[in-house]
Each structure stands twice: as structure tokens, then as C-alpha cells.
């Protein structure tokens, strides 16, 4: 007989270690390793391309990225930054960027780069295909980012000064456009006219108000009544008690009279104040009229032949680009390398943290405490990056050298400003004497940046001073440019100076109007070198731009003969138009003001004179006949009468 029932073998007890997980663990490790070996570098490259393109505003390409885990190193090759102006070329191409990080810092969750190198710098290299350029940011969107807002702030001010068709307007005046016809169509009220009408209404109301107030003021008869009251008192009595009582009464009565006179005095000074205010307001009508003339000049596109205006209109776009560029990069630097917080900012942060406590916290938010860094690193710290480029490295490489020192996310902790210096020559691109120095001092509460850049020579090709849409085209076909830029920024203030020079200038110009083209040809033919100096001072929300150029001066002189008479005539027409419009209102205002001075003003002066006279009489009545030597006289003095 066979035993068919199976003998149940006791299952082997498994140990505490999951030995079965060995293979999956190895597979997982292999997968992770494979990802980092095969894909991580290319994903990082794409990430850098995306991020850099967003910041720069035009396509940025990276040829190759190589990272090493054990060496904690990073290498990037063939970095191409598209030129926003000419997308078919690069602004700069960098052959290699190499940096090695410190493991000690990485283990602390920080990135500290001991040494980095930037090699084979090549400006203006040709791209394989034109790079994508982001469209300009839309006008002030309250939700727009910090950079867009900063750029918008600058452009709002420059655009207010800019006339896109400045030379086109000059051409129109040369062609003989008469502003008289355009003025007929202007239906809108002038500022001066509106102000005069408002002033006139106010003055009429004031006159009525003052007349009413004067009526309510004490009249001479009131003082005469007081005088009668005093006379009724017996101040010559020999009874000392009665005399003292009467004198006290007299003093009270006189005090009452003085209060009334004081009220009249106060009213008179208030009226004088009103008259002064309205006289000034009437005088400001002249300024408003001048402003109206200027506005109309702009509205009717009547240009000015002031050399400064010529220079401003020709070079404002160039200055604007440099200004927005400086603003943008300084803003980025301040965002990622923030200056030390002021006590007010620290207090605000603490208050915000307290407010947060009232709202239920999200899971895991908590409060993160910062302890003193005794042996540590900022979140990011690039100690030193050496820039070097030799002519023989690649075809378009130049000879350049420089260094970037102490780029960090915590400048206040590090206590050292960031310094950048680059100098070089790029003979293939005809770019000589490039020198760039910048110091970004964010170590203290107030951020300070200073930039000094200069270039000995660079080629200028097809640079237009006028917009493409302008009916008059003016620009440089070819020239050798040189220039310098110095900028000092502290908190919200800016001081910038730009000097540019274009030698061997060959101009490119065109105009539909024959006389304009003739003038341009004559003027530009005698200018071998164009110089431009621009100064920007003030704060970012309100700055002044002062642009001077010999081109502006020469063009102004050139158009002077053609335009002076016509512009003078046009301006005279505007003056007449404005004066005719506001003349009647101005006269009404003057009449109303005169009415206020002669009516209530005169009435109040007369009333005051009469009251003073009555008061003197009352005081006389309060003087006892015995004189100052009598006992009553002594008492009077004692009562202060």
C-alpha cells in the first residue's frame, strides 16, 4: 500500500534580509546608471538651452554637455548665442566652458566651483540656420515678470521722447504742409482753455462767498455800541470799590471789541491769501498755453530743427537698447545675487511669516532656520573663472583673456563683490581693443554696480538710424565704429554715459522728397566721422537722456535754411490759434480776479479802517478824565488798559 498523501515539508523560514531583491536592485542601479550615462547629459543640454533662451530672448544652442559624477565636473562645448538683431549670426560662440565643483560643497547641498575656464570665444560667427528670436514683450502687463516690467519701465520713458517719423515730418514741412487746415479739425479743448474756464468759475464762486463773509463780519456800529457802553460807566467816581468794578467791566467790553477786530484781521489775511493763490493760477495759464502749443506741434508733427532734437531722434533707439540691456542684466544680477536685506525688509519678512502662521500651513512647509555658516559655502559660488582664447584655437576665435571672480547667490555672506573683466582682440571680425570691466557689489544693503566697457574698433554694416517704416531712410552703410560705455548704478539710481564714434562713414539715405534728399546728400557728404555722446541720469522710473551728435548738428544746420521760415510760420500759426482760443477765457479770469481784489478786498480794508477808528474812540472813552496820575489812572494800568 502506497501512501498517497503528500508529506507537507515545512517552509524554510526567510531571513531578515530580502535576498530576492538583489536582482531587482541591480537592475534598478543599472537603469539609473544607464540614464545618467546615456541620457542625462543630453537632457541637461536641452534644459540649459531652454533656460538660457528664455533669459536671453533669442535662441541659445549648446553643442555638447559632459558631466562627470566622480570628478564633479561639467563641460559644455559649442555654446552659440543668437544675435537678436541679426538672427543669422551669433552674438558670441564659446568653444568650451569647463568647471569643476568641490565635492565637500556638493555633500552640503551647495555648488562651489573652484576653478572654471572659458575657451575659444568667437563673436559674430555665422549660424548654420537663423536663430529664433522671441517677440518683444507685450505692453505693461501687471502679471508680467520682473524683467519685462523693468524693460517696460525704461521703454515707456524713451518711447515718450521718440518720434518714429521725425525725418518724414521734416520732409512734410519742406513739402509745404500747412498746419492751418489741420488746426481747423482740432475740436478738443486746450489745456489752458479748460483751466481758464475752471478758474473763472472758481473766482465767481469765491467772490460771492467773500461778499457773504464780509457782510457777517462786525460793523463799525457794533464798536460804536461798545463805545457807548463804556461811556455809560462812571470811571470818575471816588468810591474805589465802584471804580474797580467799572474798570473790570470796561476791560471786558474792550476785550470783546478787540476779538471782533481780530476776526476782521484774520479774514483779511485769508482773503489776501486767496487773491495771491488765484493770481499765481492765472499766471500759470501762460505756461499751459505754451504747453498747448508744444502739444499741438507734436500732434501736427511739426518738427523742431534744434540740433539736440535731431541727435535725440537719430540715436535714441541705440541708447534705448543699451539702457534696457543694462537694466535687464542688472535686474537679473540683483535677483540671483541679492544684496543684504535692510532692517525694514527683515521686519517685513518676519511680519509676513507671522501672518502665515494664522493661515493653516501646507504639509511640510514649516519654518526653515538658518544657522551661522562657519565652514560652508553659499548655495552657489563660482570662485574664479578664467577666460582665455587664442587665435589658433578655431577659425574665428580671437585673442582674449579675462576673469570672472566671486559669482555667488549670497554676496552678503561672502562679503566680496562680483568682478568681471574681459579684454581681447578678434582680428577676423575686425573687432579690436575690447575691454569690459564690471563690479557688482551686492554685499551691503544698497546694491551698487559699475560697468566700464570700451571697444577700439568694430565694423558697422547697414545700421539704420531711422525705422524701416519712416518715409526718409538714413543710416550707415559702412563704417568703423568705436565707443565706450560707463554706467554706475546704486539702488534705483542710474548714471550712464555712452560715447560712440563712426569713422570712415559711408551713409545710406533715401527720401521721396527731392529737396530733402538734396539736403541729406549735401550734409552727409561732408561728414567723414559721426560722433555721438549720450548721458542718462536719474532714477529708473524718471531719468533724463541727453544726446549730442555732430550728425544732429549738421543735419539741423542743413535743414535750417529750408525750414526756419516755414517752421516759424507754422509755430506762429499755432500761437495765434492757442491765443485766440484761450484769449477770451483769460480776460474773464483777469476780470474776475480784479473784481475779487477791488470788491471784497477793498470793502474789507475799509471796514478794518473804520473798526480801528471806532476802537480808538472806545479806548479814549475808557480813559478816566483824571489822567494817569489819579488813583483811577493807576487802577487802569493795573487792569492793563
Amino acid at each position: 500500500m502506497t501512501n498517497t498523501s503528500e508529506v507537507k515539508q515545512p517552509k524554510k523560514t526567510a531571513g531578515p534580509i530580502r535576498t530576492g531583491a538583489l536582482v531587482p536592485s541591480l537592475i534598478l542601479i543599472a537603469l539609473v546608471w544607464s540614464y545618467f550615462f546615456f541620457f542625462f547629459d543630453s537632457h541637461l543640454r536641452k534644459g540649459i538651452e531652454f533656460g538660457a533662451s528664455r533669459v536671453h530672448g533669442a535662441e541659445v544652442n549648446v553643442g555638447r554637455v559632459k558631466t562627470s559624477f566622480w570628478g564633479a565636473s561639467f563641460e559644455m562645448n559649442d555654446l552659440e548665442i543668437t544675435d537678436k538683431e541679426k538672427p543669422e549670426q551669433n552674438l558670441v560662440q564659446v568653444g568650451t566652458i569647463r568647471l569643476s565643483m568641490i565635492w565637500d560643497a556638493l555633500l552640503r547641498g551647495k555648488v562651489a566651483v573652484e576653478d572654471a575656464s572659458v575657451l575659444a570665444i568667437q563673436p559674430w560667427t555665422k549660424r548654420a540656420r537663423p536663430g529664433h528670436v522671441d517677440p518683444p514683450p507685450p505692453p505693461a502687463d501687471p502679471k508680467a515678470g520682473l524683467l519685462a516690467k523693468a524693460q517696460e519701465q525704461v521703454m515707456q520713458q524713451t518711447r515718450a521722447k521718440f518720434n518714429e517719423n521725425f525725418l518724414g515730418d521734416i520732409a512734410d514741412v519742406v513739402a509745404g504742409t500747412d498746419p492751418k487746415d489741420q488746426l481747423k479739425n482740432i475740436q478738443g479743448e486746450l489745456k489752458a482753455q479748460a483751466a481758464a474756464e475752471k478758474l473763472e468759475k472758481e473766482l465767481t464762486a469765491k467772490k460771492i462767498e467773500w461778499e457773504k463773509r464780509i457782510k457777517d463780519l462786525p460793523q463799525p456800529k457794533d464798536i460804536q455800541a461798545i463805545e457807548a457802553k463804556i461811556k455809560a460807566l462812571n470811571l470818575n467816581t471816588k468810591n474805589p470799590l465802584e471804580l474797580a468794578g467799572n474798570l473790570k467791566k470796561a476791560k471786558d467790553i474792550l476785550g470783546e471789541a478787540e476779538a471782533k477786530i481780530k476776526l476782521v484781521d484774520q479774514t483779511q489775511s485769508q482773503l489776501t491769501g486767496d487773491i495771491t493763490t488765484y493770481t499765481n493760477a492765472a499766471a500759470s495759464l501762460e505756461k499751459l498755453a505754451a504747453q498747448d502749443v508744444a502739444d499741438l506741434q507734436k500732434r501736427l508733427k511739426i518738427p523742431s530743427i534744434d540740433p539736440k532734437e535731431f541727435s535725440t531722434q537719430l540715436f535714441l533707439t541705440m541708447v534705448e537698447k543699451k539702457l534696457t540691456g543694462v537694466r535687464k542684466y542688472v535686474e537679473i544680477a540683483r535677483k540671483y545675487m541679492p544684496p543684504k536685506k535692510t532692517p525694514a525688509q527683515i521686519a517685513a519678512d518676519k511680519a509676513a511669516a507671522k501672518d502665515d502662521e494664522l493661515i493653516p500651513r501646507k504639509r511640510g512647509e514649516g519654518r526653515t532656520y538658518a544657522f551661522p555658516i562657519t565652514k560652508g559655502y553659499p548655495l552657489f559660488w563660482l570662485k574664479k573663472a578664467a577666460i582665455s582664447s587664442e587665435i589658433n584655437q578655431t577659425e574665428w576665435a580671437g585673442k582674449a583673456s579675462g576673469e570672472i571672480i566671486d559669482v555667488t547667490t549670497s554676496p552678503s555672506d561672502l562679503g566680496r563683490p562680483t568682478r568681471l573683466h574681459l579684454a581681447g582682440d578678434f582680428p577676423k571680425q575686425n573687432l579690436h581693443g575690447l575691454d569690459f570691466q564690471a563690479t557688482l557689489d551686492h554685499t551691503k544693503e544698497s546694491a551698487k554696480e559699475s560697468i566700464k566697457a570700451s571697444i577700439g574698433a568694430f565694423p558697422v554694416m547697414n545700421q539704420l538710424f531711422t525705422p524701416e517704416t519712416s518715409s526718409v531712410k538714413l543710416g550707415l552703410k559702412e563704417a568703423v565704429g568705436s565707443g565706450s560705455l560707463t554706467a554706475t548704478l546704486a539702488d534705483q539710481t542710474v548714471s550712464m554715459n555712452i560715447d560712440s564714434k563712426f569713422d570712415k562713414a559711408k551713409f545710406d539715405f533715401d527720401a521721396k522728397s527731392g529737396p530733402v534728399k538734396e539736403v541729406l546728400g549735401a550734409v552727409l557728404g561732408s561728414i567723414p566721422t559721426v560722433t555721438m555722446n549720450a548721458g542718462v541720469t536719474g532714477s529708473w522710473d524718471k531719468f533724463n537722456i541727453n544726446i549730442n551728435s555732430n550728425l544732429g548738428q549738421e543735419l539741423s544746420n542743413g535743414f535750417q535754411k529750408q525750414l526756419q521760415a516755414k517752421l516759424g510760420e507754422a509755430k506762429a500759426k499755432l500761437d495765434t490759434f492757442v491765443n485766440e482760443k484761450i484769449g477770451p477765457n483769460k480776460k474773464k479770469v483777469q476780470d474776475a480776479l480784479a473784481g475779487l481784489s477791488s470788491g471784497p478786498g477793498k470793502a474789507l480794508s475799509g471796514a478794518k479802517e473804520r473798526l480801528s477808528k471806532a476802537m480808538n474812540n472806545a479806548k479814549g472813552a475808557a480813559t478816566p478824565k483824571g489822567g494817569g496820575g489819579s488813583p483811577a489812572g493807576g487802577l487802569l494800568k493795573g487792569f492793563g488798559l
Partner: protein, 175 residues
Amino acid sequence: MTILFKQLFSLLKLLNSETGQNQIAAGIAAGFILGMTPAFSLQTLIVFLCLFVFRIQMGMAFLACFFFKFIAWILDPAFHAVGSAVLEANALHGLWTTLYNMPIIPLTRFNNSIVMGSGIVAILLAPVIFFVSRSAVVKYRETVVARFKETKVWKMMKATSFYGWYVTYDKHFGS
């Protein structure tokens, strides 16, 4: 997802078996630590590594983590208070400064009030949770499972051929 379901089925099997109470209790304790920790940090990674290397019931750990996450959310203000008190203690300032300046340690995010508070609570209570849940599992088997095995429904089911197939399948392919 398949792994998760597999883990949950194996949890049910283990829970109703006669062994593995330590694995289940360790799973609950590990899930407790994971659930209490507010965000991904170095200590979370260490717990995951333990789950992977040691025979801790993963299904139970994930289930417990899910459950304790809700409790932790309610307890966050208390964790914040504990963490803040510890991090602000003058006597410990030197220790925190040293740890803050050491490599690797800052990756634990110990300087966050909730991470510190929940970490302290989780480490202190994890052994308690382990022993309590182990005795709860034993109690469950003694009362619920034993009683269920005595029911007619279970006996009827055990007598079916389907159950026989299941046992055979489990013998060959079950973990």
C-alpha cells in the same frame, strides 16, 4: 501598480497566516516614519532603502504611510511647535550650527521646524508603534482569523475544488 497590488495581496495572506507578525509590525512602523515626514528628504530615502533591503512588509508600509499622512497633516502645528522649540533651544544652538556646517546632514532638512518635529516624534514613537502593532496582529489572528476558520462558510469554501486549485497555484507560484 502591479507591484503595489501584489504587495497588498501578500499583506492579506501574511496577515491571515501564522507567521510574519514582525514583518507586518515593522511595515507599520516604517509607514509611520514615512507618513510623519513631510517631504522627500534623506531620511525618507533611508527608510525606502530599509524597506527594500530588509524583509519588511511593503504593502503594510505603504498603507500605513497613507494613513499616517492624514494624521500628520492634523498634527503639523504640534510638529512645528516641537521642531521650533528644539531648533530655537539655546543649549542646542552649537549642535545645530555644527550639523548645519557638516556635509550630507543638511540634506536631511533637519533645520526645518516640521521635519525636525515630526522626525523626533516619529523616532520616539516608532518602537512603540512596532510593539503595539505586533501584539495587535497576534490578537487579530487569535480572535478574528481563528473564529473565521471555524465558520461553516470557510469550511465549505475549503472543501471546494477551486480552493484546491488555489493552494496548488500558491504552492508553485506564490511568494
